[in-house]
Subunit: 380 residues, 2 copies
């Protein structure tokens, strides 16, 4: 079986991730921060270590500004809804995932206005278009770092400068980039950074996070027990407690820490270069094949390890099914929860089949993928 | 090490739970519902099987009315905020956890009014007091099933009848009961049931759920990708998708299913009887010890395997520390995120040390706990 669906979730994970989760569950699977005994303290301490390594990865000065969430979607909802109020205006892009677009759509009913800056046919966003969309009441800019549909890398540093210059907050959706592409919240002027644990950071499902800049006061989505200031009925204002009510995914967070440490030990540059090599070769070869349409910038300087394709007019679900059944190659068809991105690149009707590569994919697997596409396109 | 902190999180879990999680992560750790390939389909199917076994456990007719969440706190926030609007009135009790009280406190600012029915010194709630608190604008009754502080069992069936008779919705917090005490949402007139995965249901942290009665239209807390109706920017109305945006905790849900199946195979009555025996003996013996104060009904017909104590005026944190350091017994001190419950039973200043027993505790461990309390109280 060849797994080319890493943009949905990375698979497999490094062994150390599995081992760390199992060790935490079996040896000290207590409730961190809820009790003071050895097990609870150990789990609490290691959760803090994961906060620290995330802070290190993204150049976040204070680890307490890293909030753990259930997934990147929750992170985005928290960031978006926490900061916006009636009368505010938001600028975002046509390349966003539904995890950004649907919360914004829901907020329309509450009097929050959105401008969607359109990308070009390759999914590229021009920062100038973002700057031109700023109005007197623009409070927030939201962009993805890498399109989950086309792999297009969005120039977040340039957009961060625009945000800073105009006194507007900047929220980055790092769902497809955190763990592979360099992100520096200080240098890039990122006020909030949403990321999943289970994609390129190599952690388990059920983990994610949101960085919130020091002093940026956003509303919490939920309230509950925090193990702190328990005598008060008001939600505590202290971070991360304010945003982390109830029992956390302790062993999951330990696994996430192990995943990030694995990346740091391997070297993020090495991981990225590996993915770039695979992607470059794959794009080069499949663009030569008759009837194959490939989307995105088609240049690894501007496109991550996410390559959407179609073969002639074959329905994307059918193509994906053939790859799964006849070639044991796992990819994802359809709209990928990014409807406007499909309109942007002209694939809203057909969908695309998305190939997405990861740490553990090999050159040999890429060759097999290319071979499969050649064979199918011959018969299409 | 003796673990008496099962009310915070059950530990350890049955081996099959660890094995199921590992198997899911290593063999088919894809993104369910996001792709159509073998791995994703298998994980999706097994997640549905967990929905089914939860439906079976609580006598829920349609498994699609079981919503998976991050934890019980999220379930409660979803249930509470999803249903209440400005001008509504809620009846709840003084025995609730901060996961109920803090969301209600936050809603006060939005014009939602709360009446807190006070329990007696044993933490008992009189259903008549609840009925007497109902007003013309009462929309919701919220009670815990079992107090996390005193173990007091709340008569949810009687309260459910009151809710039904008065045309009011009933939300039950089953944080301490789901998996040990019988819950039948039909028979008990429960409209929403919030439960954690990692306590008596023996699943991992990072799992929880909310049952929402068929046809009860509550607002979702977040929006995002659901892998369904992806061409629409509006959040889909279909269950469970409406309430489950983003990647779920796939392997965690598989582990939760394994935990529930384990309980059903053992027999929930057998598990409960075991816990009752331990609790009965523990209460009988420690109530005989000089200087020891024990709280709750002190009768296992009305008290679950949660026993709060104090020794003289010893600070609860200190007592807990001694138990941990000198006896290797893990318990929880303090306020347990239930401040009004402490006021109800008169322990707001001192806190309590909570002993909470689970499936894997033995009679021998209970004897050691009793012995430790005897020794400490002699020196106190």
């Amino acid at each position: 079986m060849i797994y080319f669906d890493n943009a949905a979730t990375s698979f497999p994970k490094p062994d150390i991730v599995y081992q760390s989760i199992m060790k935490a569950m079996k040896e000290y699977g207590a409730n961190p921060g809820r009790s003071g005994h050895k097990l609870a303290l150990r789990l609490g301490r290691e959760i803090f270590e994961t906060r620290e390594v995330i802070a290190k990865l993204f150049n976040i000065k204070n680890p307490m500004n890293v909030i753990f969430t259930f997934n990147c979607t929750e992170s985005l909802n928290l960031g978006i809804k926490g900061i916006l109020n009636r009368g505010d205006h938001v600028v975002t892009t046509s390349m966003e995932h539904n995890s950004v677009l649907r919360p914004l759509k829901a907020l329309e009913k509450e009097g929050i206005e959105t401008t969607i800056v359109k990308g070009d046919l390759m999914g590229r966003i021009n920062p100038i278009d973002i700057e031109n969309s700023i109005k007197h009441n623009t409070k927030l800019i939201i962009t993805t770092h890498i399109s989950n549909l086309t792999g297009t890398i969005i120039p977040i540093e340039a957009i961060g400068q625009i945000a800073k210059k105009n006194g507007i907050y900047y929220l980055v959706d790092a769902a497809q980039s955190a763990g592979v592409y360099n992100i520096d919240v200080e240098k890039m002027n990122i006020d909030m950074l949403a990321f999943p644990g289970h994609k390129c950071l190599l952690g388990p499902q059920g983990t994610g996070g949101l960085y919130i800049r020091e002093g940026l006061d956003i509303k919490e989505m939920g309230q509950g027990g925090t193990g702190s200031i328990s005598h008060l009925l008001e939600q505590p204002g202290v971070r991360p407690d304010r945003y982390e009510s109830g029992t956390p995914n302790g062993p999951g967070i330990i696994g996430l820490g192990a995943g990030i440490n694995y990346i740091l030990q391997e070297g993020m540059d090495k991981v990225r270069k590996h993915e770039e090599e695979l992607t470059k070769h794959f794009i080069e070869e499949i663009t030569k094949i008759d009837k194959v349409k490939v989307y995105g910038p088609l240049d690894v300087r501007y496109q991550a390890a996410v390559v959407p394709i179609n073969i002639g007019d074959v329905d994307s679900s059918e193509l994906s099914y053939i790859l799964d059944q006849d070639y044991d190659i796992e990819v994802r068809p359809g709209l990928h929860c990014a409807p406007i991105a499909h309109k942007t690149i002209g694939t809203f009707e057909q969908g695309v089949v998305r190939f997405s590569f990861g740490l553990y994919n090999t050159h040999e697997e890429i060759e097999q993928g290319i071979k499969a596409i050649k064979e199918i396109s011959r018969e299409a």
